[in-house]
Each structure stands twice: as C-alpha cells, then as structure tokens.
Amino acid sequence: MELKEKLLSSFLVFENKIDVGSYVQDIKSEAIKTFKDNGFPTKKDEDWKYTSLNKVLKEDYTLFSKKEHNIEYSDIKRYLIYDIDSYKIIFIDGKYSSHLSETTHDGMDICLTSAALSKPKYRLVIENYYNKVATKDSLTSLNTAFSNEGAYIHIPKNKLVEKPIQIIHFSTGNEAASMLQPRNLIVVGENSHVQIIERHQSLTENPVLTNSVTEIFANKRAIVDYYKVQNDKQNASLIDNTFINQRQESVCSVHTFSFGGKLTRNNLKFFQKGERINSVLKGITIVGDKQHVDHNTLVKHIEPNCESHQDYKGIFGDNAIGVFNGKVVVEKEAQKTNAFQANNNILLNDNATINTKPQLEIFADDVKCSHGCTIGQLDESAMFYLRSRGIPKKEAKALLMYAFANNVLESVKIPELKHRINRLIAGKLSVDIGFDL
C-alpha cells in the first residue's frame, strides 16, 4: 500500500482514539482532507522542483510504534548539550519520556503538546495559537491531522528563561522503519526571552521519516533564539516545517546546522506582524555522500520599519545536493524595510550540486533589499599559503571551509552549543583541529 493510502486509512482509527477537544478535532478533520486532496508534493510543484520525496516515501513506515524501549540517559547523553543546565523535553519514538525530561510549570509552561491539546486549562492558548501561523500546505496538514505530541512552551510576559530548552525527538529503530510527526507550539510573551535547541536523532540505521511542525509566536519585544541541530544518521530524513509569527519589536533568530541525514527539507517561514521587527535566518550546511539538504525560506514583511537577515553557507562534497530557495516578500505597507539575503556555496568536486534561487517580491517603494548567491571552489592560492606553513592538505582544506562558514557561528549565543557545533564541523571535515581558540 502506498504511504498516502496507509496514512488515510490509519487516520480513521487514530481519530477515534485521541483525546482532544472538538476545537482541535475539527482542525484535524479539515487537515486530513487537505492532505487527501493534495497528497505528497512532487517535483511538479514549483517549491519542490529540486527535491523529490520519492525515495523516502517508498519505505513501509510504522506510524504508531507500540514496542517498548529501554533507553537510558547514557544512551542519549551524547546528543544533548549536557554540560549546561537546561530544560529538556525528550521524546522516544514519538512518545514523551518523563524520566529523561526536565520540564516545569513554575511560572511558565515547558511541557507537552498532548497535555495542552487535551486539558481544559490550556484551551484558551490553544484556541488563540494552535495551527494559527502554520500554513495549510499538504505536509503541514498531514502533521496537523496526525500529530498529538511534541513540546508545548508557553512563557508569560516579562520573563527571562535562564536555562535553554532542549527539545529532542529520538527514534530507537525498534521498528524496521518509522514515521514520526512531532508538533511543537511555542508562545513567548511580551518582553520575554527564550533560547531553544531542537534536534531529531535516530539511534540506529533503520529508516526514519520525520515530518515535524513547529509554530512559534513571539509577542511584543520578545526575543527568541532557536537552534536546529541536524546531524542525523544516514537513513534518517527530515521535513522540518517551522512557522514564526512575530509581533512589534520582537527579535527572532533561527540557526540551522545541517550536517547529517539522508534528505533534509527545511521550510522556514517568518511572518512579521508589527513594526520594527527583526528576523534572522542563518544556516551552515556541510554534506557529502548522496545527502540532500533543501532550505526553503520565506520572510513576509507586512508592516513598516522591519528588518530581516538571511545568511546561509553550504559546502557540498561527493554526490551531495543542496537547494536554497529564499523568498522575501515586501508588502505595500512595509515601507523602510531592510531585507538582506546571502547564500554562499562551495562545491568540493564536479559531482556535487547546488541549486540556489533567491526570490524577491517587492510591492513597497522605499525599501532596502539585497540578495546575493555565490558558488565557488576552494581558493588554490589560499591552500598553498596554508600548506607552505606546514598545515597538511586535509587540514588546510578544513580550515578554509571552517573560515568560510565561520560568520554564521558568531551569532550563536550559547557558548557550549557553539563549541559543540565546532566539534561537529571538525568531525564532518574529518580533522582533529580545535577551531575555537
């Protein structure tokens, strides 16, 4: 049976089992209809021209794993930023793991989507925010229909969340192949500040397909720093749909570090609903083999005096394929917008591919918008310079690649995370040099 059919028939069973109010129930029924009508996107869709899901859709995925697992902290420690004090919301095969997590209800809610969707005390927040910024495209709708679990974070106003929050979705490989559809909802109140690290990680080589949706609401003057660490195993694929709704004077940044996985598609959409908003989108992609990483971004400037900064660096080796499709829309009212976009790439050989496409739709006349994309190779004269100082070829290459990606790391505000990313980059480039001094 094809995955689409399997999903549609499973939904009938799933629908009756979930514990959600009629408000959410209605949204789910609507969403499954959208998925039924549209199915999975294909290369015929303009937004999916360079990324085909065919290969990852052909597995026979288990949709709801019932098998028990015995995952302990020691099994997953290495995937955490463990040397800092943090809140942790940890899921194993789509289910919340209370013994591995560290949540709170003390003055804020850092807990679970399933609780938020079912308990009456969260009803108002759910009705105000759930599925409100997520677009109604087919994959997001599929998630909306099926998802019942993920991180629910609600920070009231004037709150500085002192510890970063780590959201990690693990898959154990207990099933031959599994599909996961986590759903995160993050609401940050006026003047509040939160830092979040998100990761999807499989623990075996069994195929996993994750179709994740995260909705983030940053209210007035809120600051949200979001980090995505994508360094999954070679049979793991991720479709990451992140939607951000920003209010007046809020500042939101999303850093995406894509080093692992088979196919990774990031749909990252920012909607600026207020004045003097700043949106920051940054990414480092370093992939090889037959890995495929696609960044599809959208920043919608709706009101005046806002800014957006996009900076994506990509390094592609072997037969890897990269896609960057960055769209900036400046609506008629959004005068004095300052939008910047850069996508720079290095191809390490003739078989690697990058498709890069900036898209600007500007309807206001008093704006500053710039975009640029480059594709190049490593500079030979720089290589000789480094080697003439005794730095071997492989290390010299790594140093140049690191230097190329470096400025994206400068804006990472959690030092331990930055250090970890540095180590991941060194590992990815298979050198043993400490980049940070």
């Binding site: 720089a382 310079y385 003439s388 100082r389 071997p392 140093l399 140049l400």
Partner: protein, 250 residues
C-alpha cells in the same frame, strides 16, 4: 643546506626556469635580483612546492634530500619557509588560530605533542614584540584588510614563529615604507643564526642595505647570469639591468 642543480621548471607548459644552479650553505645570506619576469618568484614558489609548477629537469636538494616530490607542507616541516610577495587574505581565520594550527601540525609531523596553550601564547607574544606587532592585530582575520606593510610584517612574524632553516623572502621590501622596512629587516637579522640561511629575492638594492648578503645573483630569462658579492647589488642599483642583458646577449 640547499643545492639546486640545472633546474628547469614550467607552468601551464610555459618554461620559466631554464637551468638554475645555486648552492646555499648554513649561515649564508643570498640575494637574488633581476628584472621583472626573469623568474625570481617562480624560483621561490618551486622551492616551496607550489603544485602548479612543474619541475621538468634538474633537482632541488635540501639537507641532502631531493624535495621535488614532497608536498608543500612536508617541505615546511623540513624547515623551508617562503615569505610571500602577495600574502593571501583569509577571512575567518585569525592570525593566532592560524599560527597555532601551523605550529601544532608541524610538531605533529615531528611526532611531538601539541604545544601547551600558555607556552604558545608566550611564544606568540614574544615574537609579536620582535616585529613590533600590536596584540590586537593577532585576533584579526589573517591578512584581511592589512596594509602592505602589515602583511609583510606578518610574514616575518610567521617566520619568527616557525624558525625555519631556510627562509626565502620574496619581494618582502615591496610596499614597505622606510619604517616598516627597518622593522622587517631588523626582525630578519635577529633571527639569523649560524645554522640557518636566508635567500632574499628583490628587485631593488634598498633592502640589502639592511640585510647584507654574502652573495648576490642576477637572474635573467630563467638563468643565473651573474654572481658576486654585495658590491654587485650596488652596481645594479647604479647601472640598472640593461648592461647585464647586453652582456648576456653579446
């Protein structure tokens, strides 16, 4: 220390060096002069191991070993250093990080452990002082936005850090004002020992007032056409290169 025999070298099928013979012994300072396009920089690059240059004939023997087949980094590990005429700008790599990597990779090649961080910092501080380099300069991206003088001073700073046996200074004087020239030359002189050697490649005699050579060679059309003492450099400064060309063509 260095013995070059009948060296012929080409780049992209264009022959540039046409039979160079040169011997440099420990403790010596050699100057190689010559008009533009005579092959001076090519000679420097070929000795340092730039891959685009093909050695067609002859040999480069360094400390008794033919280095022709060695990669640039292996030559550096053996003690060959090239101060670049045009140092490459590398944004994103700080001077300190670069030097730390270079030193530790060189140590690794010799089977030594990484230099302890405090020792490294002290070494960097001492050598920076020698070249009158401001400490802020060390955290800047390598050569990026450096003035001509700063780039050259940074080259000699690297030489001081790596303590090579053979240093080849390719047009180190170009782009230097008189103060920078003095600092650079002073640095080179302080690093000069009985067991190392310096080859100064220059177009003008100016630098040789500060770094006094034991031997001066004139390169013309890919060959050394005349060798002499420091007096030869003065003669070239006075008379230019034309008389040498005429002498060769006669």
């Amino acid at each position: 220390m260095l013995k070059i025999n009948n060296l012929h070298a080409s780049v992209e099928d264009k022959t540039i060096l046409k039979g160079i013979n040169l011997e440099v012994k420990a403790g010596e300072v050699h100057a190689i002069m010559g008009p533009n396009g005579s092959g001076k920089s090519t000679l420097a690059s070929v000795i340092a191991g730039k891959e685009e240059y093909e050695v067609d004939k002859g040999s480069i023997i360094f400390e008794g070993q033919d280095v022709d087949e060695l990669a640039a980094e292996d030559r550096a590990h053996k003690g060959i250093f090239l101060s670049f005429q045009y140092p490459v700008e590398i944004p994103g790599v700080s001077v300190t990080n670069f030097m730390k990597t270079a030193i530790n990779e060189t140590r690794k090649a010799k089977g030594l452990k990484d230099m302890p961080a405090n020792e490294m910092l002290k070494l960097i501080r001492d050598k920076a002082e020698l070249l009158e380099i401001d400490r802020k300069f060390l955290s800047r991206s390598l050569n990026q936005g450096f003035s001509g003088g700063e780039k050259k001073r940074n080259e000699i700073f690297q030489m001081a850090m790596l303590e090579p046996k053979l240093a080849i200074l390719d047009e180190t004087d170009s782009g230097l004002d008189i103060d920078a020239l003095r600092i650079v030359a002073n640095g080179v002189n302080k690093l000069k020992r009985k067991d190392n050697a310096v080859v100064v490649i220059t177009h003008y005699q100016r630098l040789l007032d500060y770094i006094v050579p034991d031997f001066v060679h004139v390169l013309h059309n890919g060959k050394i056409v005349k060798s002499g003492t420091a007096a030869l450099a003065h003669e070239l400064e006075e008379k230019g290169y034309d008389w040498i060309k005429e002498e060769v063509n006669a």
